[in-house]
């Protein structure tokens, strides 16, 4: 049987994030958690691969607190076969280096696979580093920013990678990891059957002992980076607002551009 593994992250819905006007800090209480938007495209792509290949197991994995279970069930409701939660107090405060190590250990435990898929970027940490990191730990190549898949068979792929000045068509031999963009597909809506499966699904929880992770590589101690300060940028205030579309009004904005040496 072939296997496709998808990495998903549960993130706060940034659309719901508010800044406390008094303390100027981010209010996270009451903010709903969602599957990182880019990961929805990763899930959908795995399902499309299964539709095409048949005889394929699709697996989603997330590293996070116990409540990240909900993200895995949502993926299952869309049609994913299996969810695995990587959760352990020892994993807390992992940076991208440690996170990708832990995810790679989970893939090793799972066994063989054909393709790994991650989202381009998580909307909270925003680094876009975990996907390529996992691939490097597993010593397989990765292609970032995949916008289109031309061919994909076990052991062979032809994909398009977005660049700022166009795109590259890349051929890949063997197993690989890709990070995906919105352009790739349209995520499907969970079916009734999927929702039932999600409710019933058994979600194994793997911790540090199950993964046989090296203590020196995980959590706070295993993370090379340290967040030493976090602050909210001063809120942007609306500035000048004028009404009208006659030439005089437009001259005003023209003057604004010139005065600020913007053009």
């Amino acid at each position: 049987m072939k296997r496709v593994v998808v990495f998903i992250k549960q993130v706060p819905d940034t659309a719901e994030l508010k800044i406390d006007p008094v303390t100027n800090t981010m209010i996270r209480e009451g903010v709903p958690s969602i599957i990182n938007p880019f990961d929805m495209y990763a899930i959908e792509e795995a399902l499309k691969i299964k539709d095409k290949w048949g005889d394929t197991e699709t697996v989603v994995m997330t590293m996070g607190p116990p409540q990240a279970d909900a993200a895995l069930r949502e993926a299952i409701s869309m049609g994913i076969d299996k969810g695995i939660l990587l959760s352990d107090k020892k994993f807390a405060a992992s940076d991208t280096w440690a996170t990708s190590y832990i995810l790679s250990k989970a893939v090793e435990k799972l066994g063989d696979f054909d393709v790994l898929i991650a989202g381009k970027q998580a909307t909270d940490g925003d680094t876009a580093q975990v996907g390529p990191g996992v691939a490097t730990w597993l010593k397989i190549p990765s292609v970032t920013y995949v916008r289109k898949i031309d061919e994909l068979e076990p052991g062979h792929a032809k994909v398009e990678r977005m660049r700022s000045e166009g795109f590259d068509i890349i051929e890949v031999k063997g197993k690989f990891l890709m990070t995906v963009l919105k352009e790739l597909n349209e995520p499907r809506i969970p079916s009734f059957r999927g929702k039932m499966a999600a409710k019933k699904a058994e979600i194994p929880v793997w911790g540090a002992d199950d993964l046989n992770t090296d203590e020196a590589n995980i959590g706070f101690t295993g993370s090379p980076t340290r967040v030493v300060k976090a602050f909210t940028p001063p809120p942007k205030k609306g500035g000048i607002k004028v009404e009208g579309d006659d030439l005089e009004t437009v001259k005003g904005v023209f003057k604004f551009i010139k005065e600020n040496h913007l053009a």
Partner: protein, 325 residues
Amino acid sequence: MSTKNKILIIGECRESSIHHVTFELVSEGAELSKKNNGEVVVLVPGYKIDTAQTEGLFKAGADKVILLDHEKLQQLNDVHYLRNIAAVINEEEPGIVLAGATPQGRSLMPKLAITMKAGLTADCTELDIEEGTGLLLQTRPAFGGNLMATIKTPKHLQMSTVRPKVFKVETGYSKEKNITKFTYIDGDSPLKIIEAVRSIEEMVNLADSDIIVSGGRGLGDKANFKVVFDLAAKLNAAVGASRAAVDAGWISYAHQVGQTGTTVMPKLYIALGISGAIQHQVGMKSADYIIAVNKDSNAPIFNVADYGIVGDLFEIAPKLTELLG
């Protein structure tokens, strides 16, 4: 001088030409090196590199330029790039490695960080040297710009990707022109770049542009995007779009600004017929100046606009294009 003070810049070429972000990083590196008594070494990987441009690298503050020129680096084959960059890092033993937060830098650096056991800070907008420790202080936006975090890497190699257009290129240094060549190390690659498609339509360059003119659903249809392109052409700007415009098929996804598109930080962002949904805002509100045109005076885009005009974009944009002419 301890090698730990050495700052290595991973340069970038577009075709044969050294990309602007490389010069920006060199100048910022030179600034940092004054604080840590270090030196700035810049590695330029590419093919048929325009060596005349190295002059500019020294003027921008480089102490040494390493050219890595090989046919197999013409395209961004990550495996060939990584093999060679890792070898240069091992030879140079820098304490700090900086690359542009471009698709290239953000593809290569996370993989390098794993193999080098380095801390990697993404998409930095501010760098400094901590007094006393000499460590690199890296400040970056997270949570779609809702939060800024300062990060350091106390014990490992310190690596960061840095947003283009954040740092200014200096031209006043008079450094000795120390140029060396690094001999390409060959090897196998499971990746093969079959084609690098570069067409005018695909030239989006959102991340590299000082000015972006974006259009939204307010444009009404694809043909009307012409008003956006016309204004952009006058301003030498890149064209952006809201997701609604992309989803409608008026313009390709590469132009999408926002949470599921590209995050941009130009000097000037002009939003035409964009309501300013939060998912759009997180991608553009860090622009230095924002101008918004919308006929609905309650549109949320006005909350972040430095200059808002309540009016019809089809009247306003062409007039502005005229005036700029």
